[in-house]
Each structure stands twice: as structure tokens, then as C-alpha cells.
Symmetry: C2
Subunit: 185 residues, 2 copies
């Protein structure tokens, strides 16, 4: 059950630094996935995300050609899959098929959503001015889908070298955020 | 007990997306702190970090003038302090004093380390070419200090609006990282 969130909520998903999958579909129609840990929120509204996708990533070509992608946010049950996706290349195999993941049509981009992920963010490249120097793509989030029915919601955070911290308890300190009320519901 | 890590280990601390404090010291000698959730690893080696510090942040002036800062990484015991630091301005108060934090001399920058944090990363601005467009500063990590004796090591990840996920269990999938061995010990 995919529920839509406003694109301006991107920071609620990405600011916490979860590992994500980048889904693309090249002009040849082939979908691909890569694992990405180097990304950040750049701006709340419009929601901009910075993402490092380098020439060593097979997905870079499709991203560069189509200027769109989906950021799919997996939960802890997919941890091994996430690592394995980052350890093989879409040049030689169909990762959706290989890893038993289900591509679903997105609304604003051709790149597929990943059904097994908790959240999917449809994104467009809005600035490639920092790609030459740092392989840094500026993406604007267009649509966000969240699997509201899902029980497992613990994201995983890459500490490097294949070590992840799994979300533990949640701490709600919202009532102390006096300066930032304008961002909240 | 502050133990030094190689600067190239920055990704082990920052890739997981923990909330951080940015410590600066202006040309007038005044130290200040801000809370930052919008940051990313850009590159492993040399270790580059992207950080959003906007004109709405009092620390921006010191960062811009001195071109250096310390990224201090707090653990869950400091969660309320971290939120409160983000909800007042260094224009009108000394945040180290107000929040009972201890500035310690760094080695390569004038900005102070924060003794109560698990890790402190001494950083220099190496590129301000994206500041005008996105308030995005590219920092190079110079030194990393880690409090090796500390028992509490759970980082907190901002989900926006004052909600944090606290590090739970750790998952070590390093043996699956076949493609990235060159980055590991």
C-alpha cells in the first residue's frame, strides 16, 4: 500500500542519512539499481537532494541521459540485498530480477519504484554543475510514496565498510523546536 | 580520552548521517556552536564533506571569515542539548557556557573541539563555489578525534521536526563488500 507524502517531506526521510537504492531506467528501457550512502538534503522547499554518483557507477550513464531517478529507501530486512546490489554491476545483469525486487511504475519519471522499499522518492536532476568536480548531482524530489501498511520500518545507516547501524528507539523532541515551527505541520 | 583516527576514516562517522554540531571561532575569538543535519560525505580520500550553512546561521560568518570549523558528533545523552543549541543564536549568548560544554584546543584549526562529543573532526573549507547557489560548503577533514573510553556511543539521526532515531543494533556485513576491499583495513 503506497501512500503519497508531499515532496516537501523529503527531509523526514533523507535527513537521517539512511542508505538508499538509486533506481534508473536507461533510454534502452533497462532498469537498474545501485546502492548509495553519499547523499544529503540540500534544501527543504523545493526539496533538493545532493547525491554522489560517479563514473565508477554503471547507473551514472542512465542518470546522465534521462536526468531522472528514484531514491528507494530500504529497511533492515533488505540489508543483505542492499549490500549485494552495491557489489555487482548492472552492466552484466538485471538487478531487479537477480534480487527478487519488483519494479513499479512511477508517476513523474520513467525510472521504476521499488515495491519492497519503505519509501520511494521520484527525482529529477535540476543541476549538474557540480558533477565534473565532485560527481555531485542536485536532484529535486517530485513525488514521495510511503508504504504505510509496512510493519518493518527500521532504516539502516552505513558506517562504512559494510557496517550498518539499525534504527533503534525514536526520540520526539519536537516541542523544543521553537525556532523551526514554520516547517512543521 | 581522545584518540586520533586517520582523516580518511571520516566516512565511518559521517556516512551514517548523524546529527552534528558545527563549532567555529570567529576572528574576535568567540567560539560558537550550531546544530546541522544537512551534510554528506562527498569523497573518501581526501575526505571531503558537504555541509549546508546558510545566511540564517550565525556561524556562517565565522566559517566564511576563518574558513575552518570542527564537526562534533554527539551521542544520545546530548539529544536535548543538540536541539536547544539549534534553537537559539550565538549572536546573543555563549553556547558552550550556556549548555555546559567544554571547548578543547584542536590541532589544525582555531575552532574548538567539544569534549562531551564522541567524535570531533577538524575541517577546512576547500571550496566555496557552491555557496552562492546552495549554501553548500565543501570541507576537507584534517584530523579526527574519537573518545575511545566513552561507553555511550549511540548516535542520533534527525528525521526532521525534532524527531530522532537512535542507533540500535549494529549489523556487520563487511564480508559481503567484495567490490570495496580497497577501502577497508
Amino acid at each position: 500500500m503506497m501512500e503519497r507524502l508531499p515532496a516537501e517531506s523529503a527531509y523526514r526521510i533523507l535527513e537521517s542519512g539512511p542508505i538508499v537504492l538509486v533506481s534508473t531506467r536507461g533510454p534502452d528501457g533497462r532498469a537498474n539499481l545501485m546502492t548509495m550512502g553519499f547523499h544529503m538534503m540540500i534544501q527543504h522547499d523545493p526539496p533538493l537532494v545532493g547525491a554522489i554518483v560517479g563514473p565508477w557507477d554503471h547507473s551514472r550513464r542512465a542518470l546522465s541521459q534521462t536526468r531522472e531517478c528514484v531514491l528507494a529507501v530500504p529497511t533492515v530486512d533488505l540489508a543483505e540485498t542492499v549490500v549485494d546490489i552495491g557489489n555487482c554491476s548492472g552492466a552484466s545483469l538485471d538487478k531487479f530480477e537477480r534480487f527478487g525486487l519488483t519494479p513499479m511504475p512511477a508517476q513523474t519519471v520513467d525510472a521504476p519504484l521499488v515495491r519492497e522499499c519503505l519509501a520511494n522518492l521520484e527525482c529529477r536532476v535540476v543541476d549538474d554543475g557540480f558533477v565534473r568536480r565532485y560527481d555531485l548531482w542536485v536532484l529535486e524530489v517530485q513525488r514521495i510514496w510511503i508504504d504505510a501498511a509496512r510493519e518493518e520500518r527500521r532504516l539502516i545507516h552505513h558506517q562504512g565498510d559494510g557496517r550498518f547501524s539499525v534504527d533503534g528507539e525514536t526520540l520526539d523532541l519536537g516541542e523544543r523546536m521553537v525556532k523551526w515551527r514554520h516547517l512543521m505541520d
